[in-house]
C-alpha cells in the first residue's frame, strides 16, 4: 500500500517536473526562433554580401534593424544615427536614413520621417528605394506634384519600373488629367501586360471619357490578366455602371 503511494507521488513529481521543464524549454525555443527570424530578416535587409563583423557601420545598422523589428524604435533610431556617422559610402547612408524614416513613422513622427526620406535621396539621388519612399510619403501627405516629380525620377533611373509608372497614372487620374492618365496606364501595360490594376484604372478612365467599347475591353482584360483572381471586379463593375449612368444623365 505504502509502496504504491510512493510510486504515485514519484510519478506526480516526475510529471510536474517534466511539465515545468518542457514549458520552459518550449518558451526558450520560441524566443530563439523569433530572435533567429529577426536576425535573418535584418541580415537579408543589409545584404548578405556585407560582413557585419568587419564593418562597424553595418554592425550598427544591423543592430538598429533588429531593434526596429523588436519594436524598440527609439533604440533603433540611436543605432541607425550612429550607423550614419560611421558609413562612408552614400549608399549606406541612404539605407540608414530609409530605416530611420520607418522608425519615425512607427513613432508617429511624420515630419521627421519625411525629413529622413529627403536625406536618403540627398545622400544617394539615384537610389530607387529612397526615391520610392519619398514619393510614397508625398502621396500620403497629399503633395501630388512633388510625388509626381519623384516617381518621374524613379522612371529616369529604372525605365522598366511598372509600379512607378502606375503610380504616376493614378496621380494624373486623381487630379482629373484623364488623357495623361490614359497615356501613363498604357505605358504601364507596355511594361507589364499583367497589371490588372492598370487595366482597371484604364477602364475607369474610358468610362469617364465616354468610350464604352474600350471600357468593356479593358474590363475584360482585368479578369483575364488576373485569371479571375481580381477580388474587386464586382465593385469595379458597379463603379463603371455608376459613371455610365451619370454620363448619360
Amino acid at each position: 500500500m505504502l509502496d504504491s503511494v510512493y510510486t504515485i507521488i514519484g510519478l506526480i513529481s516526475f510529471v510536474l517536473f517534466l511539465t515545468g521543464v518542457l514549458t520552459g524549454l518550449a518558451h526558450i525555443c520560441k524566443r530563439l526562433v523569433e530572435a533567429h527570424c529577426i536576425r535573418n530578416c535584418a541580415i537579408k535587409n543589409i545584404g548578405n554580401e556585407v560582413s557585419i563583423y568587419n564593418d562597424k557601420g553595418a554592425k550598427l545598422a544591423y543592430k538598429g534593424i533588429c531593434a526596429y523589428l523588436n519594436e524598440d524604435h527609439s533604440k533603433a533610431l540611436t543605432y541607425l544615427e550612429n550607423a550614419v556617422r560611421y558609413s562612408q559610402v552614400s549608399h549606406n547612408s541612404a539605407f540608414c536614413f530609409d530605416w530611420m524614416s520607418r522608425c519615425y513613422e512607427a513613432l508617429g513622427k511624420y515630419r521627421e520621417s519625411l525629413n529622413c526620406c529627403v536625406k536618403a535621396v540627398e545622400a544617394e539621388p539615384s537610389n530607387i528605394k529612397a526615391l520610392f519612399g519619398l514619393a510614397n510619403m508625398y502621396v500620403r501627405n497629399g503633395a501630388f506634384s512633388k510625388a509626381e516629380f519623384y516617381y518621374n525620377r524613379v522612371l529616369r533611373y529604372d525605365q522598366k519600373n511598372s509600379y512607378a509608372s502606375f503610380m504616376l497614372g493614378t496621380l494624373f487620374m486623381g487630379r482629373g488629367l484623364y488623357d495623361k492618365a490614359e497615356e501613363q496606364f498604357l505605358k504601364t501595360i507596355e511594361l507589364n501586360n499583367e497589371s490588372e490594376e492598370a487595366f482597371a484604372e484604364l477602364s475607369v478612365v474610358m468610362a469617364i471619357k465616354g468610350d464604352y467599347s474600350r471600357m468593356d475591353s479593358y474590363f475584360a482584360e482585368v479578369t483575364k490578366s488576373s485569371n479571375g483572381k481580381y477580388t474587386d471586379s464586382d465593385r469595379l463593375r458597379k463603379r463603371l455602371n455608376s459613371i455610365k449612368k451619370m454620363k448619360d444623365l
Binding site: S13, L107, G174
Partner: protein
Amino acid sequence: MTIEILLLVIAVGVLFATSIALHCIRVADKRKKRRNAVEKLYDNARFGTDCAVKRRFKRALGLLVGSDYVRVKTLRKVAMVFVKTARRVREPIDKAYCLSWAGRCYEDYGDPVLAAICYTAAIEVAPSETFSSERLGDYYLEYSPEEAQAHYERVLEYNPLTSTTYFKLAKLHSKHGDSDKAIARYKTAIDANNGYVASMAEVAIESAKKGDKKTALNFYFMAMANDVCEFEELEEAIKECLIQCTQS
C-alpha cells in the same frame, strides 16, 4: 518517503519557477509595448528640464495606454493626473498640451462639459493649441455654430493646411445654406490635401444643389477617379439635387 517528498517539492518548485519566469517575461513584454506607446504619444511635449513633471506626464500616458481595454474609472484618474501636471508645468505650450490630454480623457470618459472646460483652458493658455480648438469647434457645432466657426477659424489661423478643418467649416456653411462659401471652402480643402475625396464629393453635391450640372459631374468624376467609397449614395444625392433644381 523523504526522497519522494523531496522530488515532489523539487518538481513543484521547477513548475512554479517556470510559471513565474513566464509571467515576468509577459510583464516585461507588456511594459515594452507600453513604453513604446508612451514614446509615440510623448513626441509633442517638451517640458524643458523638469524631470518630475516629465515622469508624471509619462506615468499618466502609461496609465492611458497600459491595456487595450482602459477602464472608465481609470480615464477620470488619468485626466486628473494630466490636470495636476498642467499645474506644475511652466511653459504655456506644455501646459496647454497637458490640458488637451485631460480633455481627451474626459471626452472618452463621457463628460463633454469637463472636456470642453479643459480645452478652453488649453486655448486660454496657448491659443496655438490647434487640437483643443478643433475639438471645441466640434463640441459647439450642434448648439452654437457661430462659436464652432470661430474655433475652426482659429485652427486655420495657426495651421492653414488642415484640410479636415476646411471641410468642417464648409459643412457649417452648407448647413446654413451658403452654397458658394461652402464650395469655396471645400475647394480649399482639396487644395490643402490633393487627395481629399470627401471634399470632391461634397463639391459635386453642392454644385448639383445650385443646378451647376457641369461642375457637379466634373467633381463627381474626380471623386470616382479617386475611388470614393460610397459612390452609389453620391450618385443618388447628385441626381436628387439636379432633379429638385430642374423642378424648382
